[in-house]
């Protein structure tokens, strides 16, 4: 993990039925401002393993007193969110990476339209203060289920008023995504953060209607999903590593002191690409092309796994 930083958890509060917000302050020194859309990677030490998850920063990017993140409890996952919800307490110390950004706004846009689904509101929380400072034209479409998610609705309403459009699936109608997209003026950029189904819907709609693909930006919450266990054999270091079902290959490598460059830990940035000599890969990333995937010569270990019981890596 690049240049780890120690932070204190100075406050924890519930911001929606399944979402907790954590306020992090520097353990020593000072935080620096970050760019809107940045994330940090939080390192979590459980009894058996280390989990590292990326979370978007949701505080004002110019505020260097604190970093804030929000974590949705996902019981079906590998345990990172459960750890944050159940094991982390006020006053604890955590280790994080400095902010990185893979989802920054395109400031050349004439207008910005945000689609947030559930906890996908978080990156936009850091966009908005900067958008307001710059006087940018933007609107936010926020979809959630109030029995689970829907954090910050009141605060957002105060901050941006009519530019906020909310869709609570419990009480109101669904967002007319096609309609919203059809009425965007020339020069609009779209940003989506939320579940894969939301991202797919918007991208598919874009293809169907001839929307310029390069003006559609998205970020999935890309915590790696669990899968079948397998064994990774490493040619260069001669190590044999067992990858259990709820650990990513990248995490297993790190646990065995094999450091791989990484940034997003979600299969989008391309940093962790590693060569494969043998074995069947189950590609789960968004980075490699279809051709590269079918060539079966490299893997993004942050999210992808093995279909076979063994994978031979050239690292």
């Amino acid at each position: 993990m690049s240049a780890a930083m120690k932070v204190h958890v100075s406050a924890i509060r519930k911001v929606a039925p399944t979402i907790k917000e954590f306020i992090l302050t520097p353990a020593d020194g000072e935080f620096f401002p970050f760019s809107p859309g940045s994330h940090i990677v939080v390192e979590m030490q459980t009894d058996s393993k280390t989990i590292r998850n990326a979370y978007s920063l949701l505080s004002d990017p110019m505020d260097n007193r604190q970093y804030r993140i929000a974590v949705r409890l996902q019981p079906e996952s590998r345990g990172g969110s459960e750890f944050m919800h159940h094991e982390v307490h006020e006053g604890d110390e955590l280790t994080i990476t400095p902010p990185n950004n893979l989802f920054s706004p395109d400031w050349r846009a004439k207008k910005h339209v945000f689609f947030a689904g559930g906890v996908g509101i978080t990156p936009f929380m850091s966009y908005i203060p900067e958008m307001l400072r710059r006087g940018a034209d933007f609107e936010l479409h926020y979809m959630y289920r109030s029995t689970q998610t829907g954090a910050y609705v009141e605060a957002l309403r105060d901050l941006i008023g009519e530019r906020l459009h909310t869709y609570d699936s419990i009480t109101s109608s669904r967002a007319e995504i096609a309609d919203i997209m059809a009425h965007c003026p020339q020069g609009t950029h779209l940003y989506i953060c939320g579940p894969e189904s939301l991202i797919d819907t918007v991208r598919y709609r874009g293809q169907q209607t001839g929307w310029p693909a390069s003006h559609i930006h998205y970020e999935a919450f890309a915590a790696p999903k669990p899968g079948k266990p397998f064994v990774a054999e490493l040619k260069k270091s001669g190590k044999t590593i067992y990858v259990p079902e709820d650990q990513s290959l990248l995490e297993a490598l790190e646990a065995n002191e094999v450091e791989i460059p990484n940034l997003c830990r979600g299969g989008v940035c391309g940093q962790c690409r590693s060569p494969v000599l043998d074995g069947d890969i189950e590609h789960r990333d968004e980075f490699l092309s279809e051709k590269e995937k079918s060539d079966n010569r490299c893997i993004m270990p942050c999210v992808s796994r093995a279909k076979s019981s063994r994978l031979h890596l050239d690292i």
Partner: protein, 188 residues
């Protein structure tokens, strides 16, 4: 035929088709280059219009063509592009490569994505040359070295292309010895 670029920044012009999902198609040709896009224009079934930059010539142009003078393109197209629906493509054919990129730059300034501007391979290989010493832009350059009309330096015309200036870069070729004048070569 397009030269095989030895430098990455040199544009390569791909084959162009019509995407039926796109709502509005704008065809733009410099006088004398309509032929380049005629086939595609005829084949395009959806909402389309055709603009010619320059004068009405003997070319066989579609009935509803509109004409713009070269000096007017900034204002006319600037507004035109900003009013396009977001689902639009622009097709450009030109005598000179610089024309294509001037239109491209107007379109992206109006908010279009680069991929929405489809360019045909230019008719001639005349280049716009950017002097890296005095910043003079010269049109219609076909040979290297070329004497910069701005500063008089003898410039090596490089294949490095600046999309912002829609021009190739020229650097002094005989900096060490002004009497050393290399032979002139035709550009491809």
């Amino acid at each position: 035929m397009q030269p095989v670029p030895s430098i990455k920044s040199r544009p390569v012009y791909e084959d162009i088709g019509i995407d039926p999902a796109v709502q509005k198609h704008l065809f733009i040709a410099q006088t004398g280059s309509f032929d380049k896009l005629a086939k595609l224009y005829q084949a395009c079934p959806s909402d389309k219009s055709c603009w010619i930059v320059g004068d009405d010539t003997q070319e066989s142009l579609p009935d509803n063509s509109r004409f713009v003078s070269q000096d007017g393109i900034d204002t006319v197209f600037g507004e035109q592009f900003a009013d396009l629906p977001i689902s639009s493509h622009i097709y450009v054919a030109g005598q000179n490569e610089s024309f294509l990129w001037d239109i491209h730059n107007l379109a992206t300034r109006a908010g279009l994505a680069s991929e929405q501007v489809k360019m045909f391979e230019p008719v001639t290989n005349q280049r716009r040359l950017f002097c890296t010493h005095c910043y003079t832009l010269t049109e219609g350059v076909t040979h290297s070295p070329y004497e910069c009309p701005g500063c008089g330096r003898l410039l090596l015309v490089r294949d490095h292309f600046s999309r912002i200036h829609a021009a190739y870069v020229g650097v002094i070729i005989n900096a060490e010895d002004p009497n050393d004048i290399p032979e002139t070569e035709e550009l491809s």
